[in-house]
């Protein structure tokens, strides 16, 4: 499996964390190889150990981690038992690392130029002039317009896409031969996603090895030459990208592909994955409790990673050869009519302007009206900066509109004074895009969720705790993470905790601002199913903001398309997505029409062709 000329080659990597609640085996035997000028993609659901694997490759798994492998070589030298000083010589210089949580990975207090040049400051001793020039050319290389000006700005003055590119510029500043990119496009708009991926593809074509970590199969399909699928800290399938994405053999990979949201009007099938089961521990296959093909052998013995049938792929499954068809899933049930129900949220002619630096005002929302009925899921799509989040803030009563008004259950809401609004706040809850920013890093999961429930009385403490556990179960987590803190959770776990917290006060309306854009498809499917259940059982209404049309298609009956603060198209999801009337809607649709199974999209936006200057 390991090509002799591999730049990076890892065999049987294991990472164990020592925590207060005993050891956590986050990575349990991962073998990878990346060649120069090629891209290896690692996919897998949240918590499967992708980020831990990546961090272990640069010796930054964490102070509480024990890293072990049979071989681990980079550029012909072993990385095992490398001293700290040697590690530092590799980091940033030979291996560039683009971290997950792109938007918070630049130091907010330092200028872009200092952030980009840091690897140079550490590894090369450049003069002032030379350094500035190098920064400018790097920023140009990653497609940042106006590099000289951008270099002097601070991260918060750049939009998400520009920040992500600056981060990449910093990772490649010292000319590394390997770039590890952990979820480089998560939380970016589709159009900007495409640009960032093109950039990575260009680097690969120029001879850099790329290790791409992603939960987004569309992204993987565009970029990867080789794919490794991770589950519960193990590689369960790996092989050439075309093979793995078109003819997956492992039941998990097959379910993962089936769960990807698409624009198919029937929606994706709710799959076996959608059963909210965490990986099974103990001996045997970790996937067995979710697997439709599991039998006695699967329970007793962990299968090895081995060649399957005639293809070049390897898979870790007893039944990979059989390639039995998975049971056909039941058709989805979304579409219950809600048109006769009462209106719970009414937004009436709302406008909002913001002051922009340097004087002047920008219209963020412009005469927007819509209504949301009990138990309905209403989608709101549009590019970043189109005013979606401002609408969310106004609906939540956290921002007052300049014009127009918002009614909650027919009673005034936006016009109330804050003290009158506060008692009703629990009725409308927000689920945010970026859960990390809303958690205090030192609070435990129990405390984070408990806060939404109010202070427990002394006698109620046990009931309080059991309610927290119940909420955790609702979102597919179990009580073992009660004592973990924000930074110890994987990206997906964090988002699920945020959702559990929002569900605490039993709201009537959930405003979901990109709630699943940071989740991998299988967890996405679970969460979307969860939202369906909440709607059906509790009659919760959803205002669902997303840039992902696949997700909107999966979730919503009606959709609003927003551009520059105004609603340009509105109607039933099927009509809007299949016979779009507005040119902008067609543009959005074109940008996502890449299908994970068919591979690379035809869309290729030149890096500088999109106006990208606005601060977010």
């Amino acid at each position: 499996m390991t090509p002799p000329d591999a730049l990076l080659s890892v065999r049987d990597l294991r990472v164990r964390f020592t925590t207060r609640h005993g050891p956590v085996d986050a990575v349990r035997g991962v073998s990878l190889a990346v060649e120069a000028g090629r891209c290896l993609a690692v996919v897998g659901e949240s918590g499967s150990g992708k980020s831990v694997t990546a961090r272990a490759l640069i010796g930054l798994a964490g102070s509480n981690a024990t890293v072990d492998a049979t071989t681990m070589t980079f550029e012909g030298r072993s990385l095992l038992s490398l001293g700290e000083r040697r590690w530092r010589r590799l980091r940033g210089a030979r291996i560039g690392f683009v971290l997950q949580d792109a938007l918070t990975s630049l130091d907010p207090l330092r200028r872009i130029e200092d952030e980009v040049a840091e690897p140079l400051d550490v590894h090369a001793d450049l003069g002032r002039r030379e350094r500035a020039e190098r920064v400018r050319s790097l920023l140009g290389d990653v497609g940042i317009p106006d590099p000289a000006q951008r270099a002097r700005q601070y991260p918060h003055e750049l939009s998400g896409g520009l920040r992500q590119r600056a981060l990449i510029a910093s990772a490649i500043a010292a000319g590394p031969s390997l770039v590890v990119a952990d979820e480089p496009t998560t939380a970016l708009d589709v159009t900007i996603q495409a640009q960032v991926l093109d950039l990575l593809a260009d680097m690969r074509d120029a001879g850099t090895a790329v290790l791409l970590i992603s939960h987004d199969l569309t992204v993987v399909a565009r970029m990867a030459d080789h794919v490794a699928v991770m589950y519960a800290g193990l590689v369960v399938e790996e092989g050439p990208a075309a093979q793995v994405l078109h003819e997956p053999v492992h039941p998990y990979t097959r379910a993962l592909l089936a769960a990807a949201p698409t624009l198919d009007p029937r929606g994706p099938a709710p799959t076996q994955i959608a059963r909210l089961a965490p990986p099974t521990t103990g001996p045997g296959c970790p996937y067995r409790s979710r697997c439709a093909l599991a039998d006695a052998r699967c329970h007793g013995e962990l299968p090895a990673l081995r060649a399957t049938g005639d293809g070049p792929s390897l898979a870790r499954c007893w039944h990979a050869d059989a390639a039995e068809p998975l049971p056909t899933p039941a058709p989805r049930t979304v579409g219950t009519t809600t048109s006769g129900r009462r209106v719970v949220l009414e937004v009436d002619g709302v406008s909002k302007r913001f002051r922009v630096p340097g004087g002047g005002r920008r219209r963020a929302v412009d005469g927007v009206s819509f209504s949301l009925r009990a138990g309905e899921a209403l989608g709101l799509v549009g590019e970043s900066g189109s005013g979606k989040s401002t609408i969310a803030q106004i609906a939540l009563g956290m921002l007052g509109p300049d014009d127009g008004r918002v009614l909650l259950d027919g009673a005034s809401w936006s016009e109330l004074r804050e003290p009158d609004r506060r008692p009703h706040r629990s009725r409308i809850q927000l689920i945010q895009q970026d859960p990390l920013s809303s958690f205090d890093p030192r609070f435990t999961v129990e405390r984070i969720i408990g806060e939404g429930l109010g202070q427990p009385s002394r006698r109620g403490a046990a009931a309080h705790r059991s309610r927290v556990v119940e909420l955790l179960h609702r979102v597919g987590l179990d009580a073992t993470i009660l004592d973990r803190r924000g930074p110890q959770l994987s990206g997906g776990q964090r988002q699920r905790v945020a959702i559990a917290r929002a569900l605490g006060p039993e709201p009537e309306i959930l405003v979901c601002d990109e709630p699943v854009s940071a989740l991998d498809v299988s967890i996405q499917a679970q969460i979307l199913d969860l939202f369906d259940t909440l709607r059906r059982d509790l009659g919760v209404a959803l205002l669902f903001i997303s840039h992902d049309l696949g997700v909107i298609n999966r979730m919503c009956e009606r959709v609003l398309v927003m551009k520059d603060g105004a609603i340009v198209e509105e109607g039933p999801v099927g009509d809007v997505l299949h016979t779009p009337r507005h040119a902008y809607t067609r543009e959005l649709l074109a940008a996502v029409s890449a299908d994970p199974a068919t591979g690379r999209t035809p869309v290729r936006t030149g890096p500088t062709s999109v106006p990208e200057g606005r601060p977010t």
């Binding site: 210089a93 630049l106 130091d107 550490v122 590894h123 981060l167 910093s170």
Partner: protein, 313 residues
């Protein structure tokens, strides 16, 4: 542009605060203190046998017989010219009294501020993210914060001056006489700032950008000093009002305990002798110092945190 507006706003606010302090002192001077002429004539506490003539002359000289509003107007007018009036007791201009005593106090306060901040910096940077050292030192710092400074002063005096004889017991002679007062005044500041700074460092080190920095090949020290420290300075700067308050209040206590000359002593003497123009003068000088330094530190916050610069508040 935002910056100009910010400065104008802060200047206006500062003038307002100083005017408020002046007005309050004036009201205190005239409503709470009985007949000022008697205080002046009696040279202090009990007034006896001052003849009506003397009182009348004093009233004439200081203008106490005029309506209050006229006196208030004159008081503000003098103030605007930097004139704080005459001391009731020292037969000197208040400005002279204060300027004469400012030197030792500034040396004391400035030195203590630098020492307090420096110690806090070393403690925080050295121990953040190292659990054992951290719990040990934060206990120590809590002790610094919660021990009254006169008690610390007396303790230090007992050990280093009486027992060991390393430093003079009191007085204003040279740097040696400043060491113990500096230390006494600095400790509570060190305690608080170190706790806050360490907390800030730790938060910064847990943020995703910290991993990015290490992934660029930076050393842990570079991460602390070039990145995390700036983040840790923000809460410290926010506390500057508290720090200044501690310093200004501490000066009075320290000068008393160590029997040092300085503004603190001037204030104590003036309060005891009901020398109200001097009290007013000290209050106003303290207010001006407070406003100016606080504004400067707030401006510094905006330099450290670029995210604040776009916001006029």
């Amino acid at each position: 542009m935002v910056t100009t507006r910010w400065w104008l706003r802060r200047a206006g606010l500062g003038v307002l605060v100083i005017w408020g302090a002046a007005t309050l002192s004036f009201i205190g001077l005239h409503l709470l203190s009985g007949d000022p002429a008697r205080i002046i004539a009696g040279g202090g506490g009990a007034v006896s046998g001052s003849s009506e003539q003397i009182l009348a002359r004093i009233n004439e000289q200081y203008g106490f017989h005029e309506p209050l509003i006229v006196q208030y107007g004159r008081f503000l007018g003098q103030l605007a010219r930097g004139d704080l009036g005459m001391s009731y007791q020292l037969n000197q201009r208040v400005t002279t009294v204060i300027v004469d005593q400012l030197g030792p106090t500034v040396a004391l306060a400035l030195g203590a501020a630098v020492l307090g901040f420096g110690l806090a910096l070393v403690l925080a940077v050295g121990t953040a993210g190292r659990p054992r050292a951290e719990s040990l030192f934060s206990t120590l710092e809590l002790l610094f914060v919660s021990t009254p400074s006169f008690w610390v002063g007396i303790l230090l005096l007992t050990v280093f001056s009486f027992r060991l004889g390393w430093f003079p017991v009191f007085g204003n002679e040279g740097v040696a006489s400043l060491v113990l007062p500096w230390l006494t005044l600095a400790l509570p500041i060190t305690g608080t700032l170190a706790l806050v700074m360490r907390d800030g460092l730790q938060r910064a080190l847990e943020q995703p950008f910290a991993t990015t920095v290490l992934a660029r090949g930076a050393t842990a020290t570079r991460l602390r000093l070039r990145h995390a420290l700036r983040h840790a300075l923000l809460p410290v700067l926010t506390l500057s009002g508290w720090t200044l308050g501690t310093l200004l209040g501490g000066v009075v206590v320290i000068e008393t305990v160590f029997a040092r000359a300085g503004i603190g002593q001037v204030a104590v003497t003036a309060v005891n002798g009901r020398d109200l123009p001097v009290v007013t003068g000290v209050v106003l000088v303290a207010t001006v110092v407070f406003v100016v330094i606080n504004t400067a530190l707030d401006a510094l916050t905006r330099v450290v945190d670029p995210r604040l610069r776009g916001v006029p508040e």
